[in-house]
Symmetry: C2
Subunit: 253 residues, 2 copies
């Protein structure tokens, strides 16, 4: 029988010099994180690494055994800097082969777009034994090998691949969250936050301060897999804020 308390975990490797140079603002961390939340899988760590065989392989081997699932974004296109397949295959000690179904997909997609050339055929290369993750947008599929999911770097295409994976991965109870916003310096209510968290063992409370309209405020995010404990913690927090004379906004500011 499934253990209802089991927590399923994942890690993400974002591959690309363009993120590390600051040229491109990553959008995949938030996208993958939000999607995993809905699948009941907890994202535990993200690493951003450069387009380097050694760096990618090292990160893959550090994370694939520690977590139930490992995702990568980037580096599966047709050009010389797309080396994720080679790096993952090297990390796993597997040869790289052409996946016949991926080749067929590319041939269909490029039939009226100039045909499959050598560069395009690179996108049919997979670590031996891999399955494909469909991608309706560009013909080039993502790749699943063991517990590792290789996805595109372009956020629209990553979204297609996540959509294709929705509901296919075993997860646990999703981590629920409720936010309470308050125009208060978080340092005024630090004791209250600690007390509420300590009284609700299944909850974590995060405090996220901000400066807006010339005023300080904070959103307090209560997280739990237990809906009742979550509600109880939110009530205690709102009671405490009200008693201390602060206006608060359920749902966050």
């Amino acid at each position: 029988m499934a253990d209802p308390q089991r927590i399923w975990t994942a890690a993400l490797i974002v591959i690309g010099d363009e993120i590390l140079s600051g040229r491109t603002h990553d959008k995949n961390i938030a996208q993958v994180a939000g999607w995993l939340q809905v699948q009941g899988i907890r994202l535990m760590e993200v690493r951003v690494v450069s387009d380097s065989m050694d760096r990618i392989a090292e990160a893959v081997n550090a994370l694939r055994t520690e977590h139930d699932y490992l995702f990568t974004t980037g580096g599966i296109g047709p050009t010389h800097d797309d080396i994720t397949v080679d790096a993952v295959a090297a990390a796993l000690g597997l040869p790289v082969t052409i996946h016949p179904e991926a080749q067929a997909m590319l041939e269909a997609y490029y039939a009226d777009r100039g045909g499959v050339n050598e560069a395009r055929l690179r996108m049919a290369r997979v670590p031996q034994g891999a399955d494909l993750i469909p991608n309706r947008m560009s013909g080039a599929p993502g790749i699943r090998i063991h517990n590792i999911f290789l996805m595109a770097g372009v956020p629209h295409i990553t979204a297609q691949m996540l959509d294709a994976l929705t509901g296919t991965l075993e997860g646990g109870a999703p981590l629920l969250a409720e936010t309470v916003g308050c125009w208060v310096a978080e340092s005024e209510v630090a004791d209250l936050l600690r007390e509420v968290e300590q009284a609700h063992l299944d909850c974590q409370i995060g405090s996220y301060p901000f400066f807006r309209e010339g005023k300080v405020g904070a959103n307090f995010v209560v997280r739990s897999t237990d809906r009742d404990d979550l509600q109880s913690a939110v009530h205690s927090l709102c009671d405490g804020l009200g008693t201390a004379g602060y206006d608060f906004t359920p749902g966050g500011i």
Copy 2:
């Protein structure tokens, strides 16, 4: 004498459950990456970890010896989930102490804001022997201990701390970059990209495809610390694109 070829490297640890849950979209990776580029320091790796002593300490110890500089963002505020100082001190085997100058800064800042309470005094805690990184915005300073720089998680405050550090860290020749945009499927020009890169040993070329206005295109980013080699590679790339009959846009699309 300084070695002009020496490459200075850095890593960044982004600390916070809110990034891993997808609730908050990180802005510090791009901000720190862009700033480092200007300092002549190369960002080699980013890790996003949860608000956990063990996870933070493990990442700190993995990255601080491998790189010239290590930066962290997040977890240095006044609330119970702000544990970066404790985790870094633990990683270094140092006790945590109150920094008298930080305490004085906080007392001045909070003099007409309700005074320094226990929570606010948390923001004066540092690993023993640390220096401070000024922060004009909120009174609470960042912290430097050895080659590790602890900065705020709120992007506006991080920006203040980076500003205070500008020009104070030794770096090497900045990595220069030029972009050439082209309305072409990158798979059409993969051979050209590889050839140009191979002919210019000091350059790397990244290919960043996109879909816009219903068309595919790509930006090709040539990076080098050598201005002449960079210019030569950009010329070869533009020549090649022109010869193949493609319009291209210097500076990128």
